[in-house]
Every structure is written in C-alpha cells, then in structure tokens.
C-alpha cells in the first residue's frame, strides 16, 4: 500500500487561549493482524503495526499512545491538550518496522 504513512490532523477552527482543544488524527497504515496457518498456529513473522503515537506541543510530550494489533487499520486517535500558547502540535507515529510518520498542525488564537 503506497499510501502508508499518510497522516491527517484536525483542530477546531477557532481556538481561544486556555481552551482544552480536541485533536483528531488519522494515519493510513495496515496495522497487520496476526496470521495463522492452516493448523491454527500463529505465523512467526515481523508484523507491521503502529505501536506508539507521541503527541508533542511546545516542546513537551503531552500524551503517548501505546497501541497494538487490536487497533483498527487506518486508525484514528483523538486526544486533548490545553492551548496555552501559539505553537505546533506534532503527532509522531512509530511502527514495528521502524517506520516513523509525522503530522503537524498549528495552534493559533483567532
């Protein structure tokens, strides 16, 4: 899937200082599921799935998701943060094959 790693982020259109802002992010990723052979035994291979999602804002890690193969393919994640200053929200997705994908959005006060 050549789309792997595409990220979309969404913030509310108007943000005031001090608002607790809900952020949604989505990433295109197969989140490979465990495969079993005909006998029902788990096939031993390196499954490619996102296992960590790190949210940073104003240079600090605000929240971190540990994720597993029980999370959907092309997953979305939603979280909140307190919008204290203008700045960049960065969401970094890490997968088990060492893939690292990033999405950013700007917090600006309207």
């Amino acid at each position: 899937m050549s789309d792997i790693g595409k990220v979309r982020l969404r913030l509310p259109s108007t943000i005031k200082v001090g608002d607790v802002v809900q952020v949604r992010c989505l990433i295109i990723h197969p989140m490979e599921r465990i495969e079993r052979d005909k006998a029902g035994k788990i096939i031993d291979k390196k499954y490619n799935y996102i296992n960590k999602v790190v949210v940073t804002y104003l240079g600090k890690t605000v929240s971190t998701f540990d994720t597993t193969q029980s999370v959907s393919e092309n997953p979305y994640f939603a979280f909140t943060l307190k919008a204290t200053d203008p700045g960049t929200v960065t969401v970094t997705f890490h997968d088990t094959l060492g893939g690292k994908y990033e999405g950013t959005a700007q917090i600006a006060f309207g």
């Binding site: 949604r24 989505l26 979305y76």
Partner: protein, 430 residues
Amino acid sequence: MRRPTRWLAVALLVAGCTVAADAPDYSRVPRWTTRAIPEARGEIRPEAGGRRVAVRYPGWPTTDYEKFRTYAYDDFRPEPTVSRATAPTGITGDPKTGRALFLNRQKGPCTGCHLVPGDDVWPAGSVGPDLSTIGDRKLPDGYLYQQLWDPRVVFPLTVMPPWGLQGVFTPEELVHLVAYLQTLHGPAAPEKDRDRNPFTRAKPVGFGDNLDPTNNPGVVRAEDAEALWKEGGPAGKACADCHAGGAATAMRGVATKYPRHLPAWGRVMSIEDFLAVHAPATTGRALPVESADNVSLTMLVKMASNGLPVAVDVSSPEARAALARGRASFVRRVGERNHACADCHTPEQGANKFLGGRYLADATSGLTRHFPTWRTSVNDAWDLRRRFQWCMTPLGMNMLAADSVEYAELELYLTQFDNGKPVSVPGIRH
C-alpha cells in the same frame, strides 16, 4: 373506452413506484467489450476435471452459479416455475437438526429474515414475520413443507426464496425444519435484550462525518489522487494538461450529470466507465474499471461536485430507453435466491428492516450520491459497480463485468432518485 383504460391500468401497475415508465426495448442495446480488471469481468475459468471456477476479487467466493438467471440482457431464462411438492415419506423430522439448519449460515440462514427464540440467535432479521410462536398456529406439516419448498404457491407475491425448489435444502432437511417450526410455542419469553429482537433493535448509527479526512480514510485516498491527475501518462500528457486549474475546479459539476448516455460510445456510462476509455485515448494511461487508480480518480472527480445537486438526464430518448431497461433490471428476479433489488431495497418490501444484522436501505430515497464509498469492513473504497457485483454473491448468481451496459443502466435508474440531492463523496459505510 374500456380496453385502453385497462391497458393503461396494467401499464401503470407494471410501472410501479414513483416514476412513469416506458416498456423496455432491448433491440438496440450496444455490445460492449469490457475494460475492467480481470477480477471484475465476471469470467468463469474452466479447470481440470470439468470444474468451472469464477474469477473474482481476492477473497470473494469462486462458485460458478451457472444454473441461475443473471442480469444479462441476453439471459432469457425465465424465473423458476412455481412448484408444488409434498414431503418425502419415511423420514421423522428432528427439531434439533431443524434448528441447526435454521441458523446455518451456509444455507439461509433463515434467521436472516425470521426471528426465533434463543440467546444464540444473533443477528436475526425482520424482513419476514417473527416465527417465535408459529407452532401455536397448528399449521399442517404439508402446508409448512410447501412454504419452504416454494412459498409462491401459498403467497404469489412473496420475496421468500423457493428454497427446496432451488436445491438450497434437500427434501429431508425441509422435513427437519418443519419439525423444528412446529415446536415453537408461546408465550414468547420476555426479551432480555431489546437488540436481539430486530423489531426493537437500535438502528445503526453509521460512521460519522464522511468528508472528514481524520474520520474517513477514503477522503485521504481521494485527495491524494490529485497527484495522479497531474502525472503524465505514457503519451506524455496528464489530465491536468487539458483540465486546468486542479481537479476541484476543472471537474466542478461534471459528476452531477453521470451516469449519462455518451453518443461517442453509444451507451450509458458512469465516471468509472468513462475514465477507462478516456484516459488511454488522451494520456495513454490505462485506467481499467475497478483498478485502484480508476476508483481513486473517480472519487477525486466526484468530490469536485460535493454539495452540488445530482442532475442526471431522465428525459432524452436515450435516457428514457436506458431507464426502462434499468427499471426492468431493478424488479427482475435473479439468482439462486430468486430475488430482485426491489425485494430488499424498496419500502414496500424489505427496506428499513433488518436483514440479519444489516439495516436495508431504501433505493427510492437516493443511495448513489455517496459512491464510491469507503467500506470500513474491508478498508477499501467501493464504487457502485463493485457493490452490485457483491450482491450477486448472497443472491447466488454469476456477476457481469463491472462496466457492463446492464449495470450502467441499473445505476442510471437508481441515480434518478438522487436528483436534486447533494453529492457527498466518498461515503463511509460498514
């Protein structure tokens, strides 16, 4: 004045629904060579030992349903003849076996349409009557047997398949089913869970905002097709070279008119059908129907019309001829199940009821303006033709090529119900 009036009454009866119809004329339907990917052509491949295997999308069943009527305009086989039958003698029906057959997903399952008691009954449907206390009616075994063999003897207008006649159940299995039904007595146990019962079950809530790229992966896929729009094909040209200003500007309003009859090709075509012939002729790129690129570009083109009202032509002679044939397809009984689209997707029949766990949609309310739609269950975008082809599977019939004229005219028939309503592509569904 009686004969013309009666003819008019019959014609109106045949026309049905909400739109006045012409009688379908098949004498001038163009022949079409498919431009679809191999998995989407409806081909059957002969294998060693005389077996015939259907060439299908990955993971789809490969059964050859050769015995059963299809949508093909040149398939003149009639519906299966209404058939009377009596139960075989010498078999004692076993209710436990019957119950297992009733719930068996390889057969009906009968629970797809009918509720019966049991905590393990999930999810039963409400298209057919609740059978939880049918034993109380003390119907003769022979009557029930006939109902399962071919219910059209009892109810001529029924949508219930002629299970025995079509060979889905053997006569012996029908005897066990009858025995099971006769054990279902009232009073019905109080319902512990209102969702088990399809008559009180909560309706599906859907998957939220279909146009939000942080909710619908289909939007991400469609947006990124802009790169393909700008990319030169083997002939050295890109879509963008002739259609300047970006797809959203250049294609604004275009999709509201599709599917439409295109004189250059002599047939009704959707965006998907047209891309498959237009792209090779201009950019040199092959965009076969049901290829990922064709679906992605179709979404991109249709998104350019989001918010604009669907406005397909329904009045030109070509459109009217196509609509008549499309309507005939919509009410045509096909497949092992002997179902028509209308059986599930009109409010007079199955629409707004549960078929198993699926809430059936009403085609007359306009269902095409969200296609192609993102399917969460398969994490892929499906255009309407693939949705048609999928329906062939539970109905038990061979599919036609995705870009067949039959499907295009059925699509036109369905799209007229979206006229005036805003395009919203891609949709998002289970």
